[in-house]
């Protein structure tokens, strides 16, 4: 068992013990909620990991790692942020894929731009945002968010990648 798994198991056990200590049955409700989410998500998880498998064998020859690599600069960041906004689905789909792209050689700046683009600027969420908060609000938030995320990617490139 590696450190990440051990940390997660310890955290799960601590939360479960706290829930049990509350004495309101929340330990079972939480357990069942987690189990039910896992069961409902399992088909999607299997498909997402198959996509990860194909990404592992196909991406290296596609040139994508070079285009978003540590030396890709602003172009690589914009490409990564753009792809991030287009990645469909929840964390089960997006995160394994991004993790694989990172392992295949895309830079840290581009990896952060991909995750943050998916999380903060998802095109799938725009319809909800415009519907409830209007296009003016969406325009303000998107503009500020986009510049901040590009800045984070750029700083990651400067701090972590040019010093390597």
């Amino acid at each position: 068992m590696n450190l990440a798994t051990l940390t997660m198991v310890v955290l799960a056990a601590a939360l479960w013990t706290y829930a049990r200590w509350r004495g309101d049955g929340s330990h079972w409700r939480g357990f069942l909620r987690g189990l039910s989410t896992l069961r409902n998500t399992l088909p999607l998880l299997v498909l997402a990991f198959i996509v990860v498998g194909y990404a592992t064998v196909l991406v290296p020859e596609s040139g994508l790692p070079e285009r978003m690599g540590p030396a890709s600069g602003g172009k690589g960041l914009l490409l990564a942020l753009g792809i991030g906004t287009l990645i469909p689905g929840g964390p089960y789909v997006a995160l394994p894929l991004i993790s694989t792209l990172n392992e295949l050689g895309i830079g840290l700046g581009a990896t952060l731009a991909l995750i943050n683009g998916w999380a903060g600027l998802s095109l799938l969420h725009v319809a909800w945002e415009i519907r409830y908060l209007g296009w003016r609000f969406t325009a303000v938030r998107w503009t500020l968010m986009m510049f901040s995320l590009l800045l984070i990617g750029y700083l990651a490139q400067v701090i972590f990648e040019r010093s390597l």
Binding site: W16, G53, V57, Y132, G134, L144
Partner: protein, 175 residues
């Protein structure tokens, strides 16, 4: 929604399998499939723990609690509270955008609502165990550290530069 995503994913898998087959025959197509399934098997203990943690956190936090914490706070205190609430509120866009709209209609400033939505997108507590499991501790910690200042910064920037537009945006939103 989930079924549509599953259908899209089946389409993507078939497309990638076809692409792999055209590049390297059955060997490459089979290799992609095996690599993916083996990665899933290897990560399954981590995923089970992550889903358990997410389930327990969702039981501790309810939308009502989070909305109540935010209340009608404004100014820098409101923005910081909005960041904390955004991080804690559970659920997808069909849950947190209506909450954000309710806060906005109830009088929360533009900066507070921008901070709330940005924190929900960038720091969701419920997603954290999955990020930890699927991205690994190093990437998760770097991402969290790098984005830690973004939701409050966006809230303060909006408040400082665009506060006067808040009322207009609120008025135009009214049915």
């Amino acid at each position: 929604m989930r079924d549509r995503t599953t259908l899209v994913m089946i389409g993507v898998v078939l497309l990638l399998a076809g692409l792999a087959w055209s590049r390297g025959g059955w060997e490459l197509a089979g290799s992609g499939l095996r690599t993916g399934l083996w990665t899933l098997v290897r990560m399954s203990p981590l995923l089970v723990a992550a889903f358990l943690i997410a389930g327990l956190i969702q039981i501790f936090l309810t939308q009502e609690n989070v909305s109540r914490w935010l209340g009608a706070e404004s100014g820098w205190r409101g923005i910081l509270l909005a960041c904390a609430s955004g991080s804690l509120v559970p659920g997808g866009p069909f849950i947190y955008y209506p909450i954000a709209a309710t806060l906005f209609h109830a009088g929360a400033s533009l900066g507070v609502v921008v901070a709330f939505v940005s924190a929900k997108n960038l720091w969701p507590l419920v997603r954290l165990p999955l990020e930890f499991a699927l991205l690994g501790p190093r990437l998760t910690l770097i991402r969290l550290a790098a984005t830690l200042f973004i939701p409050p910064l966006l809230g303060f920037l909006t408040q400082g530069l665009l506060a006067r537009h808040g009322e207009t945006i609120r008025e135009r939103l009214k049915p």
